[in-house]
């Protein structure tokens, strides 16, 4: 399932990485932020919306490790951030889609306003298709379900593809094996 998911997500223009443990994923993300030039100035922040990946981790320590990384996601900070990290509940294999419970506003801000969206998902939490997802996520429980596939795109001018029109220009999917088992 992971391979199918990865192929479709890459086909939609995502970068997909996979790690066995939370610690490895965390290292990757922090390094990614440094490589992307995250710094403590408007335009170069990174915002991280709450995620099970952070469970038991002192975010203060992380903030100290990467200046410019913020764990409080406000409208202004998200606007001035380059990178946003959010949690995803499920992945859909046959389209390379991520499904998020976006009811919490910081999940929406961090994934919609930033240039680069890092999406975390448990490798075990992949379903084959949309009907399968619908058995997992239901409007009666989730007030705002967001399905995200690849970066923001448009072809409104002469049908030429352009990436990153209102939302992120890049979508990096971080699959974490350990995370799957922690998910509801």
């Amino acid at each position: 399932m992971f391979e199918a998911f990865k192929a479709k997500a890459e086909g939609a223009g995502c970068q997909v990485v996979r790690f066995a443990t939370r610690a490895e994923a965390l290292d990757f993300i922090l390094q990614f932020m440094r490589d992307e030039g995250v710094a403590d100035a408007p335009g170069t922040y990174a915002v991280w919306a709450d995620s099970p990946l952070l469970k038991g981790i002192d975010t203060k320590v992380l903030e100290a490790k990467v200046p410019g990384l913020k764990f409080t996601v406000t409208r202004q900070l998200a606007k001035d951030a380059k990178i946003g990290v959010t949690q995803m509940e499920w992945g859909i294999a046959n389209t390379g889609t991520l499904a998020q419970d976006s009811s919490a506003v910081e999940q929406r801000l961090a994934s919609a306003l930033t240039w680069v969206h890092i999406a975390l998902v448990g490798t075990d939490n992949l379903v084959p298709d949309l009907p399968a997802l619908m058995t997992k996520m239901h409007p009666s429980k989730n007030g705002y379900i967001a399905l995200i596939t690849g970066p923001s795109r448009t072809a409104d001018i002469e049908r030429v593809l352009a990436i990153g029109v209102h939302g992120p220009e890049r979508l990096v999917i971080v699959c974490v094996d350990e995370l799957g088992r922690m998910n509801p």
């Binding site: 919609a112 001018i157 029109v165």
Partner: protein, 714 residues
């Protein structure tokens, strides 16, 4: 047709931008790829059922939706008229002190011209979908339902953006998109209220489903504290799971994507970024939709999921775009929706643009018979207003074979000068005063019925009746003669029932269903009089009538008593190549020895391919008759003939022809073959005018000397 309208067609034809963009996109191929591994027929049947059943319960579903959404904290307002929608929004704006609005794409708001009203009250509404924003800056309306600014070039967009952002800009599309991103970012943050539409509204849960690629709907529903969704009632479906097939088809049909970048499913208010809850208002807009749902014919149009694939494949849309062909809602489906949401009369001109080729119907994920419904519109308009006198007289004359032939012949020899100006222009297919791209066909000195009597046929056990249709009878009697000769070789004797006349499709196409029904009734008796194995037609248009439409037309016009006979006739009717293919398989026709292999390219007439599904048989029959079939690009795209279309929409017809001729000639085949005299007049005339070496031939003509004599004639 109004003068201004003819002029706008002319202008649109001069602008090749939109057509060029659609061509480069190569939609049919990319669409097919997106649907790989999916049973499209099953999927669209499912969608048609879901939407069809919802259309049958609009009121109940609207109430159910209201209850469910209100239980979750949304405010739901049911509005009957466009004015009621606008009043509600204006009042809300007044109450909350709203000055700035951001909108994500909403056809419903376009339908009611909302922005204009808001502006009148000092409220600025900015579109955020890139295409919509461009169109807004240009003070235009969308030319395509999914890609609103498809008609504008990057140069034009650059000019618009330069003016708006007051800076010089290049024509680089990537750069232009970034300029829009920056300009619109500010607007999201400043807006007090966000307006969206919805692609689906789920009654069971009170959920709005919004599909975008750009991510603007996510901004519009997140950043402003108030969210208003304007939802046409046709967006309702009963259950959560009903959304799945629609979401599966919509992106594939709309943009050849597996799924769009974003799908948002919103149920009730969610948190704003200052900790308050969203003020969520959902307006369920009727504006004639329940009335439409009650109409047994037009209820089907509510199955539309607004994918706009019907525009992408439409040969007419490709040429003239959505500003000519449509009004807010564009193309064939746009014609239908406009007739309801506005008024039947307002669509009088655009109704005439559809050539009835059926391309859209073939790929519509809502399984809507778009050309069929456009015909219904014409029918209603014709019933309401009556056809123009001249057109009516012309259509009546067709039914009298002798008079008809005499007139046509005289007219073609230039003996009735007034004729060209008068009713001749309204006759199907034969004559028009346009010859820039196409030579005119000559009316044969003697009609087929006279030639037929002179053919000496062997007496055979198997007998078939031949229905010639007007074009073979008057323009191409030699096709009829060839047909008789080929069938004789198989030991089949051909009868020609004298009482036959026009098949009625020209009347039907003009909306005169009553006259079409009379034509059908008039033909049934002579055709059923003899005990024959088959009724053979060699014209795809007539085939549509005999094989398919007569029973429906008779039923629609209250002649139910004739329906069983018409159905019996339909089951007996075969197209010429369909029969030849069979006879070859049965070895009743075998290739003569020493035949030279010749090459031919086959044009699928719209009627043959999409109305009666005959496209494999002619190829097989031609191959069996010793021809190599060289396929052309877009072999089943309309040649622009379309019965009287070529006369009523000459410029459009000629533009379609030009494209067809290019494709035909590219194959380098020796012959162009089509089993439709109308297409042969159009394409053959075009080839002739170009001075092409290629000849246009009917299959019967190509096959006339190809087969051995059949030994078992008695």
């Amino acid at each position: 047709m109004k003068k201004g309208f003819t002029q706008s067609i002319h202008n649109a034809l001069g602008n090749q931008n939109l057509g060029g963009i659609l061509d480069r996109w190569n939609y049919p191929v990319t669409r097919a790829k997106a649907y790989e591994g999916i049973d499209f027929e099953a999927l669209r049947t499912q969608i048609a059922e879901i939407k069809g059943s919802a259309a049958g319960h609009l009121n109940e579903l609207a109430e159910q939706f209201k209850k469910a959404a209100e239980a979750r904290g949304a405010k739901v307002f049911r509005a009957n008229s466009p004015q009621a929608v606008k009043d509600y929004i204006l009042e809300l704006c007044l109450e909350k002190g709203v000055k700035k609005v951001v909108k994500s794409k909403s056809m419903a708001s376009e339908e009611i011209h909302l922005n204009k009203d808001l502006a009148k009250h000092g409220i600025q509404a900015d579109e955020t979908d890139l295409g919509e924003w461009i169109v807004q800056l240009a003070h235009q309306t969308p030319s395509h339902m999914v890609m609103p600014a498809l008609h504008l070039t990057k140069e034009e967009v650059s000019d618009l953006f330069s003016k708006e952002t007051q800076q010089p800009l290049s024509n680089d599309i990537q750069e232009l998109v970034k300029v829009a991103r920056k300009a619109l970012r500010g607007k999201y943050f400043a807006a007090d209220l966000g307006i969206t539409g919805a692609n689906i509204a789920i009654a069971e849960t009170g959920t709005l489903v919004i599909v975008t690629n750009e991510g603007n709907a996510r901004m519009v529903t997140t950043l402003p504290k108030i969210h208003v969704a304007i939802v046409g009632l046709e967006k309702l479906v009963a259950n959560y799971v009903d959304a799945a097939p629609i979401l599966t088809a919509l992106p594939k049909s709309a943009t050849s994507q597996l799924i769009t970048s974003y799908v948002s499913m919103i149920t009730g208010p969610v948190q704003n970024d200052d900790g308050t809850m969203k003020d969520l208002h959902i307006i369920l807009m009727d504006n004639k939709r329940t009335e439409m749902a009650k109409d047994p014919e037009f209820k089907e149009a509510l199955q539309c999921i607004r994918c706009a694939s019907c525009l992408n494949v439409c040969p007419v849309y490709r040429l003239v775009g959505g500003h000519v062909f449509g009004h807010i809602y564009t193309g064939g489906i746009g014609t239908i929706l406009t007739a309801w949401f506005n008024e039947l009369k307002t669509t009088e001109d655009i109704q005439g643009l559809c050539i009835g080729c059926g391309k859209c119907k073939e790929i519509c994920p809502g399984k809507i018979d778009i050309p069929g419904l456009i015909l219904q519109l014409r029918r209603r308009l014709a019933t309401k207003q009556g056809l123009p006198f001249i057109q009516k007289t012309a259509l009546q004359i067709i039914n009298n074979r002798r008079v008809f032939h005499a007139m046509l012949r005289a007219a073609s020899l230039g003996q009735i000068p007034f004729a060209k100006e008068g009713f001749i222009r309204h006759l199907p297919m034969f004559l028009s005063n346009l010859s820039e791209f196409r030579s005119l066909p000559t009316i044969a000195p003697a009609p087929f019925r006279d030639l037929f009597k002179k053919i000496r046929q062997p007496k055979c056990k198997t007998k078939v009746a031949f229905f010639s249709g007007c074009a073979i009878e008057f323009v191409f009697p030699k096709i009829g003669v060839a047909l008789v000769k080929v069938l004789n070789k198989a030991g089949i004797e051909v009868l020609f029932p004298e009482g036959q006349s026009c098949c009625g499709i020209p009347h039907w196409g003009s909306g005169a269903f009553d006259m079409a029904a009379l034509a059908a009734a008039h033909n049934l008796k002579p055709l059923m009089a003899e005990d024959v194995k088959y009724v053979v037609v060699a014209c795809a248009t007539c085939a549509t009538a005999l094989k398919k439409e007569w029973p429906h037309i008779l039923k629609a016009e209250g002649m139910e008593n004739l329906v069983p006979v018409a159905e019996k006739l339909a089951s007996k009717t075969v197209m010429f190549t369909e029969l030849v293919d069979k006879l070859i398989a049965e070895k009743r026709l075998t290739l003569k020895d020493g035949q030279k292999l010749q090459s031919v390219t086959y044009h699928d007439s719209c009627h043959a391919k999409r109305h009666v599904g005959i496209f494999k048989e002619p190829r097989a029959a031609l191959a069996g008759a010793g021809f190599e079939v060289k396929e052309m690009i877009e072999c089943d795209t309309c040649c622009g003939m379309g019965g009287s279309y070529t006369v009523k929409q000459p410029e459009l017809s000629m533009s379609m022809l030009k494209r067809k001729l290019d494709n035909v000639e590219q194959t380098g085949a020796e012959f162009l073959c089509a089993e439709c005299p109308g297409c042969l007049i159009q394409i053959g005339g075009g080839l002739d005018k170009r001075g092409s070496k290629m000849k246009a031939k009917h299959p019967a003509e190509l096959m006339v000397d190809r087969f051995k004599d059949n030994p078992d004639q008695d």
